[in-house]
């Protein structure tokens, strides 16, 4: 039995983890120090693990029986449903950590609530993911404090990163077509329920890190979950998909 609406939601989550995981993997061998290089690639691996579970489920739920690899490697940018926040380029280390912090603070809250999903597979995965994401949140939070409350230079860079990324955070709490039906079926929580805890969590850290919260009325970009991406996603997918596309069906 296929459930196109639920599959769309799973793609949105799965694609967000996949694209973020790929972005983080771009740091491999380029971290500011060895421990951080290892941390960034470990977080990348976790994200890709989460994507793998979610995309596999999406391929079952939509009735096409596509594997997670089919979905990751054989779709075009307009078919990707990820949030715009995660496709933003790594920038400097402050920018990567700010993006991680904004995302992990949101994802942690989401997976806490998804453990009550009426879909038992998603609920089980959420319990597992929540534990792993708590590590990402702790790590990125520590860096937010260290950079924000560090030197003038680190503070300036972190504030710039937050200002640049802020317009992509509106999507995190947006209601997308089909969501109302999923909320009705208690498959997913209403995205508005995530907003107050997220705001409280980031405000506490911003305040300790002396970071100014961008204006709440600022313009927000929107459209990733509808397939409207920036050109940046195209470059990312070109690199991520080239081997699978050049050698179809290759196994090793």
């Amino acid at each position: 039995m296929s459930d196109a609406i639920f599959a769309e939601y799973l793609l949105r989550l799965g694609d967000s983890h996949l694209v973020l995981g790929h972005r983080l993997s771009e740091w491999c061998g380029r971290g500011p120090m060895l421990e951080e290089d290892i941390a960034l690639t470990n977080i990348a691996l976790d994200c890709i693990g989460h994507a793998s579970v979610l995309l596999r489920l999406a391929g079952q739920v939509d009735g096409t029986q596509r594997s997670e690899d089919d979905l990751a490697y054989l779709r075009e940018a307009v078919q990707f449903r990820n949030l715009l926040l995660v496709e933003q380029p790594n920038g400097d280390f402050a920018c990567t950590m700010a993006r991680q912090f904004l995302f992990s603070a949101w994802a942690g809250g989401l997976y806490d609530l998804l453990q009550q999903s009426t879909d038992s597979t998603l609920a089980a995965a959420a319990a597992k993911f929540a534990k792993e994401i708590s590590y990402h949140l702790r790590h990125s939070r520590e860096w937010m404090l260290r950079l924000g409350d560090g030197t003038d230079e680190s503070h300036r860079r972190l504030q710039e990163a937050i200002d640049d990324l802020w317009p992509y955070t509106g999507e995190l709490f947006q209601l997308w077509p089909g969501d109302a039906d999923l909320i009705e079926r208690r498959l997913i929580p209403h995205p508005e329920r995530l907003q107050a805890p997220w705001t409280a969590r980031i405000t506490e850290v911003f305040s300790a890190a002396a970071i100014t919260l961008p204006s709440p009325g600022a313009h927000m970009f929107s459209g990733g979950p509808l397939g409207r991406h920036s050109e940046k996603l195209g470059y990312l997918l070109a690199e991520m998909q080239i081997v699978a596309r050049s050698f179809p069906g290759a196994a090793w």
């Binding site: 421990e35 951080e36 290892i38 941390a39 470990n42 977080i43 691996l45 976790d46 994200c47 890709i48 693990g49 989460h50 793998s52 579970v53 038992s120 597979t121 609920a123 089980a124 995965a125 319990a127 597992k128 993911f129 534990k131 792993e132 590590y135 702790r138 790590h139």
Partner: protein, 153 residues
Amino acid sequence: MKQARSAEDAWQVLATVIDPELPVLSIVDLGMVRRIALDGPGVRVAITPTFTACPALQVIERNVVAALSAAGFAPVRVETVLAPPWTTDWMSDQARDKLKAYGIAPPSAGTVVACPRCAGIDSERISAYGSTPCKALYRCRSCLEPFERFKCV
């Protein structure tokens, strides 16, 4: 080919399947094997991943099939079970001792992380992330040696 007998035999076989990233522990020591059900001449094994993205999982699944097949079970089916999520609480005491002897501080409650080499309790965390998803990096302030600690989840 030997004649397969019971679920108990299957458990004994799985106690020989080691985690490639932690070559002193079997998947039974780790508590990854949740269920074994005989299915005619075959067997069904339910495994819970320690970490979602554990790169060793596919190798482990292959090794489970190979070991049980060699012991005469056919067909062997492996399924992944996500709920309840794996926790370090499922690791046996024997497994914790083996980890320590191997040089990895076992997961433990509380904030004290004892050095697996000199048993000193004055250690510091260098990084929450290590060479595999299940380990963090520490340094002992007594003997000054770095060591890995199994993450508590």
